[in-house]
C-alpha cells in the first residue's frame, strides 16, 4: 500500500512538471521581429488617429468660416433687394 502511494505521488509530480513545461515551452510564439511589426503598426494607427483629430478640427473651423461667409453673402443679397425697393419708392 505504501509503495502504491509513493508511486502515485511520483506520477503526480512528474505530470505537473511535464504539463507546465509543455505550457511554457511547446506553445508557438511570435519572434522579436514580428512583435516589432505589431508595435509599429499600433504606433502608425495611433499617429493616424491623431492626424484625423487635427483634420476634424480644421474641417470644423472651415465649416464655421464658410457658414459665416454664406450668411454675409445672403445679407448682401437681401440688402440689394432692400436698396432696389427704396430706390423704387423714392
Amino acid at each position: 500500500m505504501n509503495t502504491i502511494t509513493r508511486k502515485v505521488t511520483r506520477l503526480g509530480v512528474a505530470l505537473l512538471f511535464t504539463s507546465s513545461l509543455a505550457l511554457v515551452g511547446c506553445t508557438s510564439r511570435p519572434d522579436e521581429a514580428e512583435m516589432k511589426q505589431l508595435n509599429d503598426l499600433k504606433a502608425e494607427v495611433a499617429s493616424l488617429q491623431k492626424e484625423i483629430a487635427t483634420k476634424e478640427q480644421q474641417k470644423a473651423a472651415l465649416d464655421k468660416e464658410v457658414a459665416e461667409k454664406n450668411a454675409k453673402l445672403k445679407k448682401c443679397a437681401d440688402d440689394q433687394a432692400v436698396v432696389k425697393q427704396r430706390l423704387a419708392n423714392k
Binding site: R6, S28, P30, E34, C76, D79
Partner: protein, 252 residues
C-alpha cells in the same frame, strides 16, 4: 513536514508559474489576430483621412469662392447707389464721427449741453447731409442713421426743456443788455450769470457788448456758470480790462 508534501507543493508552484507565463505571453495565433485587427484599423483610418482631406480642400475652395462672391455682391450694392467701396468707406467714417459727436453730447450735463447747443445744430445738419446721400439707402447706414436721428431728437428735447426765451427790448427805454437781462427776477436774478446767455446764444451773439432789439435769446437753465461759461467770461474781462472796466453790454 513530510518531504512528499513539500515536493508536491514545489511541483504545483512550477505548474502555476508556467500557467501564468503562458497566459501573459502572446501566442502566434493572437499575434496574427492583432496584426489583422490593426491592419484593418489602419486601412479604415487612412480612408477617413483621405475623405477628410478631400472635404477640407472642397471647403477651402468654397471659402475662396464665397469671398469673391461677397466682393462682387458688395460692388453691385454700392453701384446701385452710384458709389463704390472707397466712397462707402468715406461715408462710413463720416457717420462714425457723427455718432461719436452725438454720444459725446449725450454724456453732457443739461447745462453744458445748453452751452454747446450750436454743436447740436451742427450735428443735426451733418445728419441731414448724410441722409441726403444715396448711400443712406443701404441698410447698414440706414439703421445707424435712424439711431442717430433718435439721439439728435433726444438732444433737441433736452435743449427745449432747458431753455426759455427772452426777446431783447431797447437800451434807451428798457436798458436791455446781457447784464441787465440776467439781473431780471424772472431770468436769473443775478447779473453775474450774463455769460450763460452769451454762451447759450453764440450763434447770434458774437460780441456780448452788442445785442439787438427784437433778438430772441435762449435763456439756459442753471444758477451757476459752467466751466466753459466761466472761461468765456474770463477771456471777455481780460480783453476788456485793457480798454476799460465793463459792467453792461448794451442792446443797440
Amino acid at each position: 513536514m513530510n518531504p512528499r508534501v513539500l515536493i508536491m507543493l514545489a511541483a504545483l508552484l512550477v505548474f502555476s508559474i508556467g500557467l501564468v507565463m503562458a497566459q501573459e505571453e502572446m501566442t502566434k495565433e493572437q499575434w496574427q489576430q492583432e496584426i489583422q485587427k490593426y491592419t484593418a484599423e489602419r486601412d479604415k483610418v487612412n480612408g477617413q483621412l483621405k475623405q477628410l482631406e478631400s472635404d477640407i480642400n472642397a471647403l477651402k475652395s468654397q471659402s475662396v469662392k464665397s469671398d469673391e462672391d461677397f466682393k462682387k455682391c458688395m460692388d453691385e450694392l454700392y453701384a446701385l447707389v452710384g458709389a463704390d467701396a472707397a466712397k462707402a468707406a468715406e461715408y462710413r467714417a463720416q457717420l462714425e464721427a457723427a455718432e461719436n459727436k452725438a454720444n459725446e453730447l449725450m454724456r453732457l450735463s443739461d447745462a453744458d449741453l445748453v452751452a454747446r447747443s450750436a454743436e447740436v445744430d451742427g450735428l443735426e445738419a451733418t445728419v441731414k447731409n448724410l441722409w441726403g446721400n444715396k448711400l443712406s439707402l443701404i441698410p447698414e447706414f440706414w439703421d445707424r442713421l435712424t439711431a442717430l436721428n433718435e439721439k439728435v431728437k433726444s438732444l433737441r428735447g433736452t435743449l427745449a426743456s432747458q431753455v426759455k426765451t427772452y426777446t431783447v427790448k431797447t437800451w434807451s427805454r428798457d436798458r436791455d443788455c446781457l447784464w441787465n437781462i440776467s439781473k431780471k427776477k424772472d431770468i436769473y436774478d443775478n447779473p453775474w450769470l450774463w455769460p450763460k446767455i452769451w454762451q447759450g446764444n453764440r450763434d447770434q451773439i458774437k460780441n456780448p457788448d452788442v445785442i439787438h432789439t427784437g433778438q430772441k435769446l435762449m435763456i439756459p437753465k442753471g444758477n451757476e456758470l459752467t466751466p466753459d461759461e466761466k472761461s468765456a467770461a474770463r477771456k471777455y474781462y481780460a480783453k476788456k480790462a485793457v480798454v476799460a472796466p465793463v459792467e453792461a453790454p448794451a442792446a443797440k
